[in-house]
Amino acid sequence: MSSLDQAAPATLERFTLPNGLRVVLAPDRSAPVVGVAVVYDVGIRSEPEGRTGFAHLFEHLMFQGSENLEKLAHFRYIQGSGGTFNGSTHLDYTDYFEMLPSNALERALFLEADRMRGPRLTEENLRNQVDVVKEEIRVNVLNRPYGGFPWLKLPPVMFATFPNAHDGYGSFVDLESATVADAADFFARYYAAGNAVLSVAGDFDADRAARMVELHFGDVPARPAPPRPVFAEPDLAGERHSSYTDGLAPLPAFASAWRVPDPIDDFAAYLPYVVLAEVLTDGDASRLVQRLVLTDRSATNVVGYVSVMGEPFDVRDPTAMILQAHLPPGGAVEPVLATVAEECDRLAQDGLTEGELARTVARMSTHLLREADTALSRALQHAVLEQQRGDAGLAEALPGLLAGVTGEQVRAAAASMVPARRAVVEVIPGGGAS
C-alpha cells in the first residue's frame, strides 16, 4: 500500500496567456474524465450598495447565452457531451465549472471562452433569472427552518461595513431593481481575462491541452484586472450579540464567531485555527462534541469551521472561526456559550492531550485527499489557490503543512477565543415543536 509520501503531487503546469488569463493544468490519466473550472476574482463582497445579490444573479446570467451560443445552448452542449455543470458565488470569487468525459475537453474550453468574451445580456433573460433566483431564495431561506443560518445571519453581527455585512443572496427589492446596464457594467469591470483563472484537471495530455487553451482563449480581449479593494475591518471592540425569531424553527440555535488572522498574508498564523476547529468539533472524540453533546447534553449538535461558507482555503481577509450549535427544546444559549469559553480556556491552559493533534490532523488529511480524488474538486481548488495566492500547488502541500502545526500554536489559537472578541447570533424558535 502507498504511504502519504507516495501520493506525490501530480505534475502541475502553470502559464499566463498574453491577454492576462492565468492557466493551471493538472493531468491525471487514472480515469477518463476531466474537470474544467473558470474562476473570476469577484464575489459577494464586491457588490455595489443597492444591488445586494447581484454577484449571484450575474452568475445566473453567464449561463444565458454568449457570443456564439443561444440561450440553453451551453447546458445542452455540456450535458449532450455526457457532462455536468454548475456555477457558484462566494464571498471573494465566482466559479463556473464542468466535469465531463475527457473526449469533450475541447468543447468545454470553447464554451468557457465564449462566455468570457461576452454573455448575451437581455431584458428577457434578466427578468427570467430574477424569478428563478427568487425561487432559489424561497427554497433555501424563506420556506425552510434555519434558512440562511448562519451564513447570511452572522455577517451583519460580525462586521460593520457593507461589503462584509450585507445579505449575499440579496433582497427581492434589489434583485428586481437590477438592470441590463448594471450587468454590462459588472461584466466590463470584473469579468476580464486578467481577473480570471482557468484550471483543468484529469485525463489529458498537458501539451495538447495547452494548445487548445491558446486556440480558444488566446483571442479573448486583454482587459486588466480591476484594483482589488481592501475589505479589512478592525477586530471587535467588545462582544456583540443579536437574536432573531425563526417562525419555522423548532429548536434554539446559535452561531458564534471570532476573527482569525489573514488567511493569505498571515497563513502560518491562520492555519492553527483551521486545526483548532477540528480539535473542537470533528467527531465524537472532539472536545465540544464530548462536552456539549455527549456529556452535558446541552447541545444536540455542534459544528466548527473557519470562514462563513466553510471554505478555509478559499477566502480572503477578513474572516472568522465559527462555532454553531442547535440546542434541545427549551435550551438556553448563555450557559452553552459559557461552557464553550470554559473548554477553550481549558485547552489554552492545559494544551492538547497525547495523540490528540496527530489524530485530528490525520483525519484532516483524509478529507483533503478525498476531495482531491475527483477531477472537478482538484480543478476548482487549483483555480482558487492560484487566483488568491498565485500558488495552485498549495493544494498538494496542505496535508504536510497541517502536519507541521504545533500543539503550542493550537493552544495559542484557543487562548484568543475569548467572549470579549465574540459575535453571537441566536435563533429563537418560533416553530411549534418546543
Partner: protein, 458 residues
Amino acid sequence: MTVLTGPRELPALETNRELVLPSDAERTLDNGLTVIAIERRSVPLVELRLRVPVERRTLDLPFLARAALLSQTVFSGTPDMTTAQIAAALQSVGGALSASLDADRLLVAGNGLATGLPRILGILAEVLTSATYPEGEVTTERARLIDRIQVARSQPTHLARVALLRRMYGDHPYAVQTPEISDLSGVDSADLAALHAARVQPAGATLVIVGDIDRAATLELAEEALGGWTGASADESFPPVPPLLPGPVVLADRPGSVQSSMRLALPAVPRTHPDHAALQLANLVFGGYFSSRWVENIREDKGYTYSPHSVVDHSVAGSALILSAEVATEVTAAALLETWYELGRVATAPPSEDELEQARQYALGSLLLGMSSQAGLAGLAITYAGYGLRLDFLAQHTARLASATREQVAAAGATYLAPARAAIVVLGDAGQVEASLSTLSPVERSSTNGAGAEQSGA
C-alpha cells in the same frame, strides 16, 4: 495558432475512451458475509460500505423506531471501548465510520488512510460483534434523534415526502420511513441489543472496500477481521409494493408556505428490466436533467421554480419515477398544468433524434463520471449489491443505453410517463392553491396535515 474570426464552430467530440471497469475481487465468507474489494489507487485512501438488509413483512412502526435508534448508537460502545475511544481510534488512522438507515438497509459508511485499513476493519468487527448500547448513550442519542425529527418536520421537502410515501405505499413498509416520536420514547438498551442480535448479522450482508489496496490481500484482511462475526439473521422479505393507482390530487396544507412542493409519482421498472434503459432515456428527455423539456419550460422559460427534477427511484421492493419541484405559490396550478403537458408530450410522440442523442450521451457520461472516484465506486458497488448486481452491470447498462432506439424510447414514454397514471401530491398553503388546482383535477385534502402544529404534537 489559427486565428478565428466571425461565428465560431463548436469543436467536435473526440473519440471516447472505452469503459474500463476497475479490478475487483469477491469472496463470500463462511459466515455469509460477501466481501467485494475494488482497486482504485488514485489517492492513498480506502472507502468502506457495509450493507445489512432490514427487510420486513409489515409496516412495523416500532421496528422502524428501534432500527433508526440502533443506527445512531451502534458505535456508542463495546465492552472495551467508549464512544470517544472508538472515534479516537478511527481518527488516528484518518478514519471515521457512521451508520444510517433507509427503507431497505442499515448502512455503515466510512473512509480512512489506506494504511489504516486493518485498524478500521478491527474496530468495525468489534462493534459488529459486541456493541453494548450503553443506557446513558442510548438516552442521549434518542433525544438527539427526536430533535432531528422535529427539525425534519419543519421542512417542506420532508413533509412532502411523508405525504407522497403515504399516497404511494398505503400500508406497505415503505409508507413510513421516519419513526414516530411516540414509538422512540420507549426504546431502551435491551431493545437495541435484541434487534442487533436478530438483524445485524453477516448472512445477506455485503462489505465493499474501494481504494489504494491490493484486492487479494484485502479479502484476507476482511476475512481475518470479520470471520468471527457469526449469527443467524431473520429471514424476512418485503411484500411487493402495491400498484400505483391514479386519483385526485392530494393536497397537504402548510399555511403561510411561500412555495408549493409538487410531487408526482409514476410506476417504473427495476434496473434489470428490458425497458429500463429506454425508460431512463425517456425520463431524461422529459425532466431528468437540466437540458430537458420540463426544466427548460418551467424554469428557463417561465421562471416558476429553481430546481425541478425527475428521477427513476429504485428500492428493493419496487421502482418509481418521482418528479419534484418547489414552485411559487401563485403559479402552483400553472406549474402542474405545464408538467402534465410535458409528460403528455413524451407519452404521445417520440423524441427527436437530436433530443435522444443528447440524452443518451448524458446517460453514458454519467456512468463514467460516477465511477471516477473511490467514493463514487463505493457508492455504486454497494447500491448494486443490494440488488444482486455487480459493477459489470455498468457495462451491460452502457450497451443497452447505446443501442436503445427512438421507437423503444417512445414506447417507454407511453408506458411509464403517461400523466393519466400519475399519483400527485401538493404540499402548500391550501387556502391559496386549492381553488386553482381544483380547476385541473379533483382535489382531496391530505389526512396527514403538513403544518407544523400537528406534526410537532406527536
